[in-house]
């Protein structure tokens, strides 16, 4: 009985050691992967920051204004002015014999959200 107990204990120690060894290596692998991912995130962040800075630089109001001036012939862009706000009575009423039939209900808002 005693010898059986000794053998069993020795086997258990060997088994647990093997398990701990495996877990240790798994942890190391996970940590390595985390580090790689952190580095990748860091690089992606810095790339994103650079891209955002470039986007902001390309969208700076001075440049957009110059582009609008250069392309005035094609696009005809002008600064927003009060005259450009339309009124509902400026829109022609649809003809009575219109073939267009509304089957779905449509949500209509009387006020216009500008932003």
């Amino acid at each position: 009985m005693r010898s059986f107990f000794y053998i069993f204990t020795a086997l258990a120690v060997i088994g647990l050691a093997f398990w701990a060894y495996q877990e240790n290596y798994k942890t190391q692998a996970a940590l390595d992967q985390t580090e790689e991912l952190q580095a990748a995130i860091g690089q992606a962040r810095s790339r994103l920051a650079t891209l955002k800075a470039e986007w902001a630089y390309l969208n700076r109001p001075d440049r957009l204004r110059e582009l609008a001036d250069i392309n005035y012939d094609r696009l005809g862009l002008l600064p927003l002015a009060p005259e450009q706000f339309g009124k509902t009575d400026q829109i022609a009423y649809p003809a009575l014999n219109s073939s267009y039939v509304i089957t779905d209900p449509v949500d209509v808002s009387s006020s216009e959200e500008l932003q």
């Binding site: 952190q38 920051a49 630089y57 969208n59 204004r65 002015a81």
Partner: protein, 594 residues
Amino acid sequence: MIRTPLRPLARILDARSKGENPDAIERENIRLRHEEMRDRARQRAEGRLLVLGLFFFCAFSAVGMRMAALSATEPTEPRASAAGAAIMAQRADIVDRQGRILATNLETYALYAQPTEMIDPEHSATELARIFPELDRESLLKDFTGKRKFLWIRKKLSPEQKQAVHDIGDPGLMFGPREMRLYPNGHLAAHVLGGAGFGREGVHAAEVIGVAGVERQFNELLRDPANEGKALQLSLDLSVQAAAERVLSGGMKLMNAKGAAAILMDVHSGEILSLVSLPDFDPNDRPRPPTQGHAADSPLFNRAVQGVYELGSTFKIFAAAQAMELGLANPSTIVDIRGPLRWGKFKIRDFHNYGKELTLTKIIVKSSNIGTARVAQQIGVDRQKDFLRSLGLFEATPVELTEAGGGKPLLPKNWSELSTMTISYGHGLSATPMHLAAAYAAIANGGTKVEPTLLKRDKAQTGPRVMSAQTARAARMMLRKVVSEGTASFGEVPGYAVGGKTGTADKPKENGGGYYDDRVIATFASMFPAYDPQYVLVVTLDEPSENSGDKPRRTAGWTAVPVAGEMIRRIAPLLGLRPEIEPDTLADITLTSN
């Protein structure tokens, strides 16, 4: 173990036969046995002490070795930290109210040299001078061949420059990573942002610290890692700011002014949507403070919060509002305006002669100094002081700029009745345009004090009440009439019902001794739409002169007002205000009961 008998029979018998005491033998044997026991106990104790000593030696050497190892190795971050180890820029971005970037960071490199490791200093110096025209070949060569072991060459490099330096191929030229502050919009909102520079510098990194504006005001917050890189959101609106700067700089040139400032403020929340001071600068390349001349003429000077000026007739509405609040007058009260009004040796005159008497509304509309001074006389010194203090005109504005603390109003040392009379039309008390905007916002929002802020707020401020809603409404109607039929007629913008008050103040001479005849500060403080004000706009021009007529015109009505009108025309649509037909003024509804 065989115990030695204490009384061995042979020896006892032998001793008895010799007539000796046999007990002596027993005692001798007991002594020997005790000695033996003592020796054993000592040996055992010594053994235990040795083991214990060994144990302590091992324990202390383990601790000592661990300490030595910790102090001798490079520190590393714990690999298994669960915090996610966020990799962030060292300084948070600054964005406008819609999240558009106003200030961000860019990775770049600094260039330094270690002359001891250089192979061909002559070639390197020649090439560096070719790449960077501002560097001098001779002084570089002197540094490279002299005793110096380390020198910085440039703080920032563009990628192209870095490649060019790389191509020189000298191992003594090295790059240190840097984060630099970038303001992608250039001059835009320069005075608000301020600028940033390098603090402590090392080879591997350098601190970026704010030197002015919000960058300096919120330096700690922007650098706080606990903030996790969350951007600082300002109340400014990029497109509104751009339009305001464009129109104001055009207006400044047209009116031949040497400087200009404009503030656009939400009257309910106190948010500043646009703050312009011209001339301005590029915060990416912030100029050095001037060493000669007036600080106020430098582009670094923020006229909107640092420029303390006498703001002229724009103050008249405060006297009128207070008179109405105190019940001394109502908009149709008749006031005697025969001039000149004397007080001691001092005479108060009007710009034109407006007749003998005018109603309070007309006094504001025509901008009569005499009429306002008479109203102020009725108000008295103490009550006027209290009212102006409640509007925030006695302290520096609380706006979040380091420069704002420098804009403390100049008050008369001895506040006499004459001071009360002159201050009622804006002379004798100097304040910044920001003070004026905050005070006008109190009239515009129905009578509660507003503190101007540069940070985005979600809801209206609930400041202390400084005047009743009725008084505020009556004051707004007066201001509307100033534009529709008075001195600010050029400020009329169809659909936006502008209301406001002009102010033209002579500039005091720098070294004392009276005022200039031909230099003025022209101010237009306005609100729109006057029947339900949302925004206050203050425009100030420094030394304007409108030269289209026979004589140069310098009054605000000819200079600041048209500029402000054009600004409102351009800005209001950007703010989402659609032009509307002004509602008719309704007769006051009186509650009656049967």
